[in-house]
């Protein structure tokens, strides 16, 4: 079996906030069509890695390459245009807007919007709006949110808000999707359907996924490889089975094994 081409290539990125080395020398090679996980205890720097990848922070050193495009120094919206999309750990929906408008906004990226055609409602504008509308409803349908299209996003239940974030991220037509704790706050039933959903999305949208998750059940079940961060340093990178046995990982999560009592 040949390895698919690397779509997201991260090489040795680091960032410090003052004296705090939040992420040190983080590297990751994400092959196309795969699902990798990023785990670590609280404060390990997982979300900081996502913020570095999506341009919220600029890396002090190292390079990030997405499908041959260097992302260092690009602004977040340019990175989104290059094909990297994300969801947020603390949900960041456009709360006052409708569910439909949240997704429609994200379709914005792949269109052309001149102010004149908007004001005059040109044929191109109308065609594009109709296409955006249809595409958004399709996406909502896939994620099972179409019956809630008209509701304000902030009134959705928590699990639906998480799924809306995924729908919105997919609407930007990404090559790589970064999911930041998609299962947080979900009950076991919702977690199970989330797993199925993520698999379905990968098949249907031909998208590569990097996932941050605290729920080991989800991570060990769906991720093909896992990177473990602790205090900003990569302590392990392997398939789930090996990660479970890795003493460093166990130590990071549970603390050092107590010396045997005499």
């Amino acid at each position: 079996m040949s390895t698919p081409p690397i779509v997201l290539d991260v090489q040795g990125i680091s960032i410090s906030f003052g004296g705090l080395k939040a992420v040190q020398n983080f590297s990751l090679k994400l092959p196309r069509g795969r699902l990798y996980g990023l785990i670590g205890p609280n404060g390990a720097g997982k979300t900081t890695v996502f913020n570095l990848l999506t341009g919220v922070y600029q890396a002090d050193s190292g390079t990030i390459t997405l499908d041959g495009v260097k992302l260092n120094g690009l602004k977040p919206h340019q990175i989104a245009a290059a094909g990297l999309s994300r969801t947020f750990q603390n949900i960041r929906l456009f709360g006052e807007l409708s569910v439909l408008d949240n997704v429609r906004l994200a379709c914005h990226l792949r269109g052309k919007h001149s102010i004149w055609s908007t004001i005059l409602r040109s044929a191109y504008h109308m065609g594009q709006e109709a296409a955006i509308h249809r595409r958004s409803l399709d996406l909502l349908g896939i994620l099972g949110l179409d019956s809630r299209a008209g509701e304000q996003a902030r009134n959705l239940p928590y699990g639906d808000q998480r799924r809306l974030e995924i729908a919105r991220a997919l609407a930007t037509d990404p090559k790589v999707l970064l999911l930041d704790e998609p299962a947080a706050g979900m009950n076991p039933q919702e977690k199970k359907s989330l797993r199925d959903l993520i698999r379905q999305i990968m098949r249907q949208f031909d998208v590569t996924i990097l996932l941050i998750e605290h729920d080991m059940g989800v991570v060990m079940d769906i991720c093909e490889r896992i990177t473990v961060l602790d205090y900003g340093v990569t302590i392990a990178e392997d398939v789930p089975k090996e990660i479970q046995k890795n003493p460093k990982v166990i130590e990071a999560y549970l603390g050092e094994a107590a010396p045997a009592a005499h």
């Binding site: 960041r92 379709c107 594009q128 809630r148 008209g150």
Partner: protein
């Protein structure tokens, strides 16, 4: 899967519907302008129709500021500055342009821009009207350029910092305009003709203001622009561009992550709003026949901000309604009519809408009932004791503002438009979206 742009190309509506859709706002504007000018204005008399005219100018200002403060959530305090730029550009072009083209600074318009005077023109419109409208549009363009120049460096700032920069911009405009040279008086046309254009462009009356302008602004022109402004802002709000504006207000980081170039869209919003403010400035100058930068300082900006806040941040119809209310209110308070009929109508409306939505709300009804009673009692006492309410009108105005903010801090309509809170809207919208859940699309 075809890309969005390919889909849009293959998806174009029939060619026959393009032109009508592009120009119907203009036709509606002409119709409503004519209605205001020929029917409603004369029916009301001179003084009320003047108030309605000013209300129209305020609608343009408030609705355009809604694009910045309401849609993108940026707090601009320099809207009067854009109005001043537009007003002075329009006034300069009309005043000195009249001298160059028509040999005098007198109005040279037709019936549609006849604002009173000795000889009423016979033609419906004359070349003076073209000069006037062209100058208002140029005023808009001038203000838009100012908006771009201010916006580009300062829109990287957020919140309070941006507010201070825009406040500073408004003051700079005021001081610059007040530092211009003496204007060349209307009776010295030869001097004006002899001078080069750039020298005319800085002879704008300085601290005395730019005076003796030809007056052109009538209800027709104002409401033509009101309708066009409203429809353009509505179209922008309900488009990808508008959603990008709103997303910036909701969450800048998420907006960026979804590919919105927030600086570009903030500048766009600023330029669009400045354009309409500039047009309003032109209409304002050629209504009064004078424009003074001293009147267009930050106090004027605050007046406009109050309209936007009262209307609801992001609601076009709310801002327009608030502009009307806040223009008429101080005038009504000169000799207050009974308010209880308005109170009754409001109570009936709230009771109707809230019981339709099966969430009957007592609180606003009680508040309105008490307020109407108190106001009526106060009015009767004032009448019987011979107190002149007009002396207290600005205090009453301020009190009413405070009360409205306490009762309804999100503004009259919140972020919604007037038709969105009417019964049945949610159902129709859900049907349009083809939602399968039926009645779930309810507005909160």
């Amino acid at each position: 899967m075809p890309t969005l742009i390919e889909q849009a190309r293959s998806n174009k509506p029939a060619a026959a519907s393009i032109l009508p859709r592009a120009i119907w706002p203009l036709l509606v504007g002409l119709a409503i302008g004519a209605l205001m000018f020929y029917v409603i204005g004369p029916g009301m008399g001179d003084y009320p129709s003047k108030i309605v005219l000013i209300a129209g100018i305020n609608i343009i200002l408030a609705v355009s500021l809604t694009v910045v403060n309401g849609f993108t959530g940026q707090f601009s305090m320099g809207h009067a500055g854009f109005m001043a730029v537009g007003g002075y550009v329009a006034a300069t072009i009309t005043y000195y342009g009249s001298m160059k083209l028509f040999g005098s600074a007198d109005p040279a318009g037709g019936v549609l821009s006849f604002t009173g005077g000795a000889d009423k023109p016979t033609a419906l419109a004359r070349w003076g009207d073209a000069l006037f409208i062209g100058s208002c549009l140029m005023g808009g363009v001038g203000a838009a350029i100012a908006g771009y120049i201010v916006g580009l460096p300062s829109l990287r700032l957020r919140g309070d910092y941006l507010a201070i920069v825009t406040l500073g911009f408004g003051e700079i405009v005021r001081v610059l305009l007040q530092g211009t040279h003496e204007q060349i008086q209307p009776w010295r046309v030869e001097d004006a003709l002899a001078k080069p254009v750039y020298e005319l462009a800085i002879s704008l009356g300085g601290p005395k203001g730019f005076q003796l302008l030809p007056t052109y602004t009538t209800l027709f022109w104002v409401y033509l622009f009101v309708v066009v402004t409203l429809i353009i802002c509505y179209r922008v709000k309900n488009s990808s561009t508008g959603r990008a504006f709103l997303s910036i207000r909701e969450d800048e980081i998420a907006a960026q992550a979804m590919g919105v170039d927030i600086t570009k869209y903030k500048v766009r919003a600023f330029v669009l709003a400045a354009f309409f403010a500039g047009v309003a400035g032109g209409l304002y100058a050629m209504d009064i026949g004078a424009i003074n930068a001293g009147d267009l300082g930050f106090l004027k900006s605050f007046d406009i901000i109050i309209m936007v806040v009262l209307g609801g941040m992001g609601s076009i119809s709310g801002a327009a309604l608030a502009a009307i209310i806040l223009t008429i209110l101080p005038e009504l308070l000169r000799n207050p009519p009974p308010v209880w009929p308005v109170g009754l109508v409001l109570i009936a409306l709230i009771a109707g809408v809230s019981s339709y939505r099966k969430r009957f709300r007592w609180k606003p009804i009680i508040v309105i009932a008490i307020a109407s009673t108190l106001l009526e009692v106060g009015r009767q006492i004032a009448l019987s004791k011979g107190i002149n309410v007009a002396d207290f009108r600005l205090i009453l105005y301020a009190l009413l503002l405070i009360t409205m903010m306490l009762v309804r801090p999100q503004g009259i309509f919140g972020i919604h438009e007037i038709w969105e809170i009417l019964p049945g809207y949610a159902r129709r919208e859900a049907a349009r979206n083809g939602a399968r859940g039926g009645s779930q699309g309810g507005k909160p």
